[in-house]
Point group: C2
Chain length 657, copies 2
């Protein structure tokens, strides 16, 4: 026999069998035409810098949509406002913004080094695991997985929050059905990914660049507009915090706390900064240099827009609050409304800014849909997550990982009732844990390698690690009861899961090792043929059973004793040379008597391997199928959990002579 070489077709061949053809058709409708495995690493899919920026930086840049807002949320609800100390607000906001800018520079510098040190992709998991050991690597991985889920939830929720007031979307009543629309968007993004969206990176360029342009436009006009006689629309800036009838509090005592809390919230603006260093293999040559340049451009854009938004917020006295599920319009919305006007000749600019904000946030969610399945597949390959996460779908995407991410991020949205503000406290801690571990790993890396000028490099990464660690402590302390505790718990649960799965795979590998396999002493085959009636189908099965072994027995379950008697008579006529066992079934169950009989056979023939032959009818049309019981299926299901029985299906086709 020499059938080894079946020619490999260019397209998946059409299935002939009707059942298979149907399933193939369904898959094509959902996933489109399958791609061959060899397409996986074609050079065409590598990204130019101009395209790489939107693909890898949308997550980071879009963070300005909720980062400044998260700071304002703390400042405005802190009591500063009520305590008559609203002048501190501007001061605090700018202080925090400068701190975050500094942090961004440090982190970007650290990742610059990572990009050159790990030209094949320096995700936090890989860097931490290689330098700090498996346990720290897994902590980073757990933190990142959580981060990916939250990025999707926060981005989608924030995206929809930003288009709540856009006139041409009023018909959706977004404000009142937030959770519903968020889940719809997540479902759409999930399906787009199952259909292989990641290849169409060019598509992302439009919203991302539009957002960047509009942000600069907004900031520039906000700052320099008055010089050219630009009229602002302060009626769209929200300057009242609800609940201002509360008594003034003594604020001095806890102003430091407010600062730390607001800073912790603001760090959400830095999420996504690590994306470039994960994605180095997708850049064109010279990969590291291109990636590093992209990182710097990204940090520059993020930093400048972030500072600009903070400055405008101070300038226009923007206020942001959340109470009982209601919020004021988002900060970006208030700013673009104030600068461009929600009505009037420049309202197009307002609409465009808000739409672009929503779009870049959805693109940012998309980034997670690339990152999560890839990280999960790496973890699965290393034996820490279920192996199915390494399966490539029809479009060469990790379908299972995509589905898991979709389900969890939708669940988070439902849990948080679609509110960005509720999610922020959960958000940044995972990111900064991963930053810290990754940078610490880099320090170790330099100490190990001692390449030229390693001390300086170690210093830079060391500062990065320290700064990020301080942020982690700050967030963990200030946001503990708001949600950070939950993230910590989930990290622990994930760690336990990783370990348990790894242990299971290891144990199974040992159990299954072919070296440990001891064949049983030469075993007899006992074949039981389940008999419902004596006919051509059964006789085929009996012939088959006899070809397998000399020890064959017919077994019938007597639901109706009269019929059983008839069966025996016919049996003795047609199959006189084989034993027929009729099992009494007083409760008309097919399953229980058979199970008990199998136990008995096992007891009597401990050295036999038992094969149960089940005859099944196959009818051509479905209505004919309805005319025959599904006894065979019931019995197969019933024997599903018996390790000691081999079930063989002999099918008998009904519509041919």
């Amino acid at each position: 026999m020499s059938i080894k070489e079946i020619p490999s077709p260019d397209e998946e061949p059409q299935a002939q069998d009707p059942g298979l053809a149907l399933s193939q058709k369904v898959r094509r409708v959902i996933f489109g035409k399958p791609l061959a495995s060899e397409n996986s690493e074609s050079n065409d899919t590598l990204l130019r810098k101009l395209i790489a920026l939107p693909v890898f930086c949308s997550d980071a840049i879009s963070s300005v949509a909720y980062g400044n807002q998260a700071i304002l949320l703390v400042l405005c609800s802190s009591g500063l406002w009520l305590g008559g100390l609203s002048h501190l607000y501007s001061q605090y906001l700018m202080t925090i913004s400068w701190l975050i800018l500094g942090l961004l520079v440090i982190v970007a510098a650290s990742y610059w080094q990572t990009i050159y040190a790990y030209p094949n992709g320096g995700g936090s998991y890989i860097v931490s695991r290689q330098n700090l050991g498996t346990n720290f690597g897994l902590v980073a991985a757990a933190a990142l997985l959580i981060d990916y889920v939250l990025t999707v939830s926060v981005s989608v929720a924030s995206g929809l929050q930003n288009v709540q007031d856009v006139p041409f979307l009023h018909f959706l009543h977004l404000r009142h059905h937030m959770v519903f629309y968020c889940v719809v968007v997540i479902i759409l993004v999930t399906f787009a990914n199952l259909r292989g969206l990641r290849e169409s990176g060019t598509l992302f360029a439009v919203p991302v660049y539009t957002f960047i342009v509009m942000c600069y436009f907004l900031v520039l006009i906000g700052i320099f507009g008055p010089h050219f006689g630009w009229q602002f629309h302060p009626e769209f800036a929200n300057q009242i915090v609800p609940g201002s009838d509360a008594t003034a509090k003594t604020v001095e005592a806890f102003s430091m706390v407010v600062l730390l809390r607001a800073f912790a919230n603001g760090c959400s603006a830095m999420t996504g900064t690590e994306a470039v260093s994960n994605g180095i293999p997708a850049f064109r040559e010279p990969k590291s240099a291109n990636a590093a340049i992209t990182l710097v451009v990204m940090a520059a854009i993020l930093g400048s827009v972030f500072m600009g938004v903070s400055w405008l917020a101070v300038h226009f006295h923007i206020v942001y609050w959340e109470q009982n599920g209601l919020t004021s319009p988002s900060v970006i919305d208030q700013l673009s409304g104030t600068v461009f006007g929600k009505t009037g000749p420049w309202s197009w600019a307002y609409n465009l800014t808000q739409s672009a904000t929503a779009m870049i946030l959805i693109v940012a969610a998309q980034t997670s849909f690339a990152g999560f399945p890839r990280l999960a597949s790496i973890l699965a390959r290393d034996g820490f997550m279920p192996r199915q996460l390494t399966n490539l779908g029809d479009k060469l995407a990790f379908n299972n990982g995509i589905l898991v991410l979709g389900v969890f991020s939708a669940a988070v949205i439902v849990f948080a009732k679609g509110s960005v503000d509720k999610l922020i406290p959960f958000f940044a801690i995972g990111v900064f844990v991963a930053f810290t571990l990754s940078q610490t790993g880099m320090v170790h890396h330099w100490f190990k390698l001692k390449t030229p000028r390693w001390q300086g490099k170690a210093m830079i990464n060391g500062i990065g690690a320290l700064a990020c660690f301080v942020v982690v402590i700050d967030i963990a302390a200030e946001k503990f009861f708001d949600g950070a505790w939950f993230v910590i718990v989930v990290v622990c649960v994930l760690l336990y899961m990783f370990k348990r799965i790894a242990w299971h795979y290891k144990r199974i590998a040992e159990l299954l090792s072919p070296d440990n396999y001891k064949p049983d002493q030469p075993m007899q085959n006992t074949v039981l043929v389940l008999i419902h009636g004596v006919h051509a189908g059964t006789l085929t099965a009996i012939d088959y059973a006899r070809s397998l072994s000399k020890d064959c027995v017919g077994v019938s379950i007597a639901v109706d004793p009269e019929q059983a008697q008839k069966l025996r008579t016919i049996w003795d006529h047609y199959v006189p040379d084989m034993e027929l066992v009729i099992l009494d079934s007083p409760f008309r169950s097919l399953v229980m008597p058979l199970v008990r009989y199998l136990d008995q056979v096992h007891a009597e023939k401990p050295h036999s391997r038992i094969t149960v032959v089940i005859t099944e009818f196959v009818t051509i049309s479905w209505w004919q199928g309805l005319l025959h019981g599904n006894t065979g299926l019931i019995l197969k299901l019933a024997l599903l959990n018996r390790r000691d029985v081999i079930v063989a299906n002999v099918r008998y086709w009904l519509n041919e002579g």
Copy 2:
């Protein structure tokens, strides 16, 4: 081997396997403890006359709840009312009532004879089939099946209509959610039947006797009350027909038509009369005599209550109408409201009458739940319906028939939007077709047997047949466009189905006849072992394959070419003496390459019987199951429709050394 005698336990034994134990538990929650087959014909379940009356006569007696009302519906909407001829109303109503009473006497007399002639149960199907041939038998069966479905729908709808105004049910808002509540009641009755409700016949006695007593009470007070100074409440009698602003019509011309239409509708009062003759085997000895007495008592009660209600309707000028889905209160409701008052000291009698009406109607629906599955199982036994309808459930009920009835009657309710009035035109025709055929069959019976005094008996049945036939013609003509046409179509469809099913079973029996079985020439066994990796599980499967045949091949599908290369190296080390075929799968499909390979093997070895051995892991806990792909299952499903392949599952238990 002598395992034939496994002692038969008194109770179904507990399953050991966790999967089986769970399914057993679920079944016990739904169905309760299973009964042993031998309980099926125990003498305890035979019925005394006092209990048999409620069980078999509720359907007939409850017909007064909609019978008179159906007549009034036609009379009131006929134009008589508008034409200033409302005096004809009383005259017509009483004429029709007397006609129906006469018909009832004739039909009862005919069935009296059937009961003695067929002491083992004289259902219309059996009597027609034995005397008039299979075709007429099947027509009667089809008509009866439809009748059973409609009885459930009409009874439940009418039952709920009658308690719409009962104060203690106001909170249900029955009037506005009729369809919903009807379906809920049908679901409850269906489940009660799956749990073996039919055994608890005594339970029915209370509502049925309450209804009978309250009806007599109502009629007697309605007639004689005024002599004792009883005060009526005419405000609860509805005397206005909506739409009376229409112009007067010339009524004389079609008064005969109105009479015939109203009579056709009124015949719905006679549905259920045949129930006793179906149920003779359930009576105590002397069965026929007891059944006959029950029949007479039933006819007497039905006739007297029916006439009494008609008299009261005339006396109180009760009017009933249906327009745009709204109806006046039911006739029984108006009568008991007028006689007892819906408020005041006798309102309890109103409430009790209406509740009892609803209850007896639900009991009547229950009668169909006994009759339909029994008839369906007889038809299935005779090969005219799917065989699964003969299966006895845990409670010895024909579960499949019960479910079919529940689904169809609920569908009818939804279709008719819960309106009794919409259903009545569909209703009586099936019943009277069955009556006609059954009585004609009886005439033939007497001519064939010529027992003493057969001429007189044939005469009685002949009159019955003729009368029923006239009614059929009347209904078919007068109600044709209102729904009778649909019933006729359904009867034809059912007949076609019966014939087609019988043909299929006959053909299959021929095809499968063991006499026609020609064993193929001695065939070789080719065994293909699907290989995912080389480990203890696979090695077990390989050992098994080798014990079956010398022609064994390992087959692996190469989703990842690198891994395939590794697999071959390991294979050559551990299984050097068996061929391994690696199938290329450029689109990562497991199924298509295997299917194409099987085609190839078939072409090369036409005289081989191919067995595909699939190894499956069995894990103890569900989460471990998640860690292993379900490749085996996918492949099994894919091979489901291949007649030329036998699939054998070798299970490998993961949690034991």
